[in-house]
């Protein structure tokens, strides 16, 4: 079976998480920011799976299923919000949506 040390696996999950974090911080396009959040969710789930495999308990996989449900809800709500923002502001730039006043 897989004999990669657990530390290496956690490091891989950490690299993925920080790539998502960098994308979330650098990009201003809302689609790309949402994609970066997806990468971060995925790496968090990967850590759960690694821990569940390490201790040979099914709890890690149960937690991943919960993360999957949360991610599905988050993506659908966020994409609906992005559609509304695009219809209202005609742009996907996150910096254009920093004012609360009514623009029309």
């Amino acid at each position: 079976m897989l004999t990669v040390p657990v530390g290496t696996q956690i490091i891989f999950a950490g690299i993925l998480f920080f790539l998502g974090l960098i994308g979330l911080l650098v990009r201003r396009n809302m689609i790309f920011m949402l994609m970066s959040i997806e990468v971060m969710f995925n790496s968090a789930g990967l850590v759960f799976i690694i821990a569940g495999t390490h201790w040979k308990q099914p709890d890690g996989q149960v937690m991943f299923i919960f993360i999957l449900a949360v991610t599905a809800v988050e993506v659908s709500i966020a994409l609906a919000l992005i559609l509304q923002v695009y219809h209202h502001f005609k742009t996907l730039d996150a910096d254009a949506v920093n004012n609360l006043k009514d623009t029309n």
């Binding site: 004999t3 995925n42 569940g52 709500i77």
Partner: protein, 172 residues
């Protein structure tokens, strides 16, 4: 088996870098799907085959399709003039090569792995289901409430609101 883990990890990292640094949203989404498939290979190597299937079906199958639909809805007017550039080989040759590497990894690991025996290492879906519906039953119900709220919220936010104007205020 270890080398497959490293190959899949490198593919995941490279495709994630390409996904978050791309200009075009559709190309980045394809790289992101590739990253999710690579992580799915790692789940399989970590003896969680049920989660690997869920990752492919739900993440790469459902959530990313939702992303692609919304991106296509939004950019349909903006990307019209750059449509011809999508068909250049350099747009699809690198994801193809990475996907082929993943496929070869999967095939090799399936060939080298011992025939699936009642191995104590692997956590079978039966254990996951028993744990999910006994220990974490309250969590399942809370997740159901969350999904219901998500459905209602997405319907409410996604519906186009008609502008209601009194007939005296109509200009024509």
């Amino acid at each position: 088996m270890n080398v497959f883990f490293y190959i899949a990890a490198i593919v995941a990292i490279v495709s994630t870098i390409m996904a978050i640094s791309g200009k075009n949203a559709i190309h980045s989404l394809l790289y992101l799907i590739l990253s999710l498939l690579a992580v799915s290979v790692i789940f399989y190597l970590l003896s969680a085959p049920f989660i690997a299937a869920l990752e492919v079906i739900i993440y790469a199958g459902a959530i990313m399709v939702l992303f692609i639909f919304v991106t296509m809805m939004l950019n349909i007017g903006l990307e019209r003039e750059s449509e011809n550039k999508w068909l250049k080989p350099r747009m699809w040759i690198v994801p193809s090569i990475l996907a082929v590497i993943l496929l070869v990894t999967l095939i090799m690991s399936l060939k080298n792995v011992a025939p699936v025996s009642p191995d104590k290492e692997a956590i079978l879906p039966k254990q996951v289901g028993i744990s999910l519906f006994s220990t974490y039953l309250l969590g399942v119900e809370i997740a159901a409430i969350l999904l219901m709220a998500g459905v209602i919220g997405a319907y409410h936010l996604g519906s186009q609101k008609k502008k209601v104007i009194h007939r005296f205020l109509k200009t024509n």
